[in-house]
Amino acid sequence: VQYERVGADVTMKCGSMDWDAAVTWTVNGTDIDESRLNGSYLILKNVDLSQSGQYFCYEGSSWHLKYQTYLRVGTPPKEPVLMCRSNNYPKGFYCSWHLPTPTYIPNTFNISVIHGTKDMVCEKDAVPKNRCHIRYLQLFSTVKYKVTLTVTNALGKNFTTLTFDEFAIVKPDPPESVVAKPVPNNPRRLEVSWQNPSSWPDPESFPLKFFLRYRPLILDQWQHVELSDGTSHTITDAYAGKEYIIQVAAKDSDIGTWSDWSVAVHATPWTEEPKHLTTEAQITETTSASTSSFMAPPTTKICDKGAVVGSGAVAVCWTAGLVVAAYSVLFI
């Protein structure tokens, strides 16, 4: 195998053949035009990726194979991107890395972790490949960790370093099993519950706090609630009848940063079931005498949508009216 940089000029010699010998070159089974040759040498100027392949050189008349090589065109590695994070505090942390641009040739990664004067071993994960993990031997360390990642290939090498305190890289995984349910007979409530991320090993001694955000699908503005403990919360100011999108994030209660947002859940608050029309008409007739002074105007649309008859109807109408008013204020 022969490795060459993109843009380089490559000269291939046909083994021990003299410069003026008659030869034929092929690449991936196709003959190469004579114009590319300088005597028996193959000249490739400013190589690009498409010129990677298997090259053969045959003696002119006998067609004996005199030379072969596999050419791989690539680039030396750029500075790698390294990230370290503790999502399982206090057990340890993991580091993962990747190259910002591909090199098109094989690369080897070497990672070293130094804690003060001690060298630590970062155990490589099978899956995903570009990742390794370390177990903490000591907790509450004043000395920083220094992680160096070196990437090497046939055309060059590069490296990057991260230095951090134990507590700075703590970032839990997002909360799991987020569930949002309507609350019966409460048109403005939604009950949200979730669980600690399963990767967090000790929520008893290392409790998490949570951040909840929610909005109706039709609006862009999120509402936020920070919860210092507990894995459930009841939203009490939801707009009646509107579908909501809800997400939760987690953080160690004292150190580190917030997790990514959890998977979003959708929920709509409880709404009254619409009643059958004829039943409503009958009841209205029988109670009209006692409730005449509070009879809702027949043109009010929301009330007609199946409001409960009697003074209860007025209450629902008023609530609905307030909601409409709130919406109209928003949309002005």
């Binding site: 509450f140 000395v143 920083k144 220094k146 004292d254 150190i255």
Partner: protein, 219 residues
Amino acid sequence: GDSWGIFTFLCAALCNLPALPALNCSEELGAGQSIQQTYDLTRYLEHQLRTLAGTYLNYLGPPFNEPDFNPPRLARAERVPSATVDLDLWRGLTDNARLAANYRAYSRLLCYLRVLDGQVGTAELRHRLAHFCASLQGLVLSIGGVMSSLGYPLPAGPAAPPAPPGAPAAPNDFLKKMDDFWLLKELQTWLWRSAKDFNRLKKKVPPAVVTLRLEARGF
């Protein structure tokens, strides 16, 4: 030079003062000398320390105020109590041992900080340090209160080392600054560890509601 000798001598002298000016010694602590309050205090102190440390490290100047400054730990610096602990050991600490470790650590750290207070140049730093020392004193008392309410004996105050023989030599300025740097670092680490210590205690011990009458206490 033996700046540490002077340091510890000063510390011993200051720490054996019977009356602590920043403290009203006869205090009746109302309802709620609880673990929760101690936890809250550590969080408050951690917040205060961030500002104090920033100011102080700037006062020390480079490289101490550089964010990447990561010096090796010199043997001399280990006189400051370290919060670093083996994970399983930390988990297995009894409530008494856990509280006592905190009590001892902060008592000594407070001592060292008071020496610092006597030496710093700017008025702003002196003011900040004094305020911080007062809050830290409150934390030590809070921890002591929790221990007493749980029936644990308070650990003895920091031992007074003997005065160094002969004339004290001039301290090395850079090494002195290194000592200050590590003092602040250990303080920061202890406050962050205490939050975790008290979280653990919160779960295991119900909040103790206690009224204490404190006497002037020499450390």
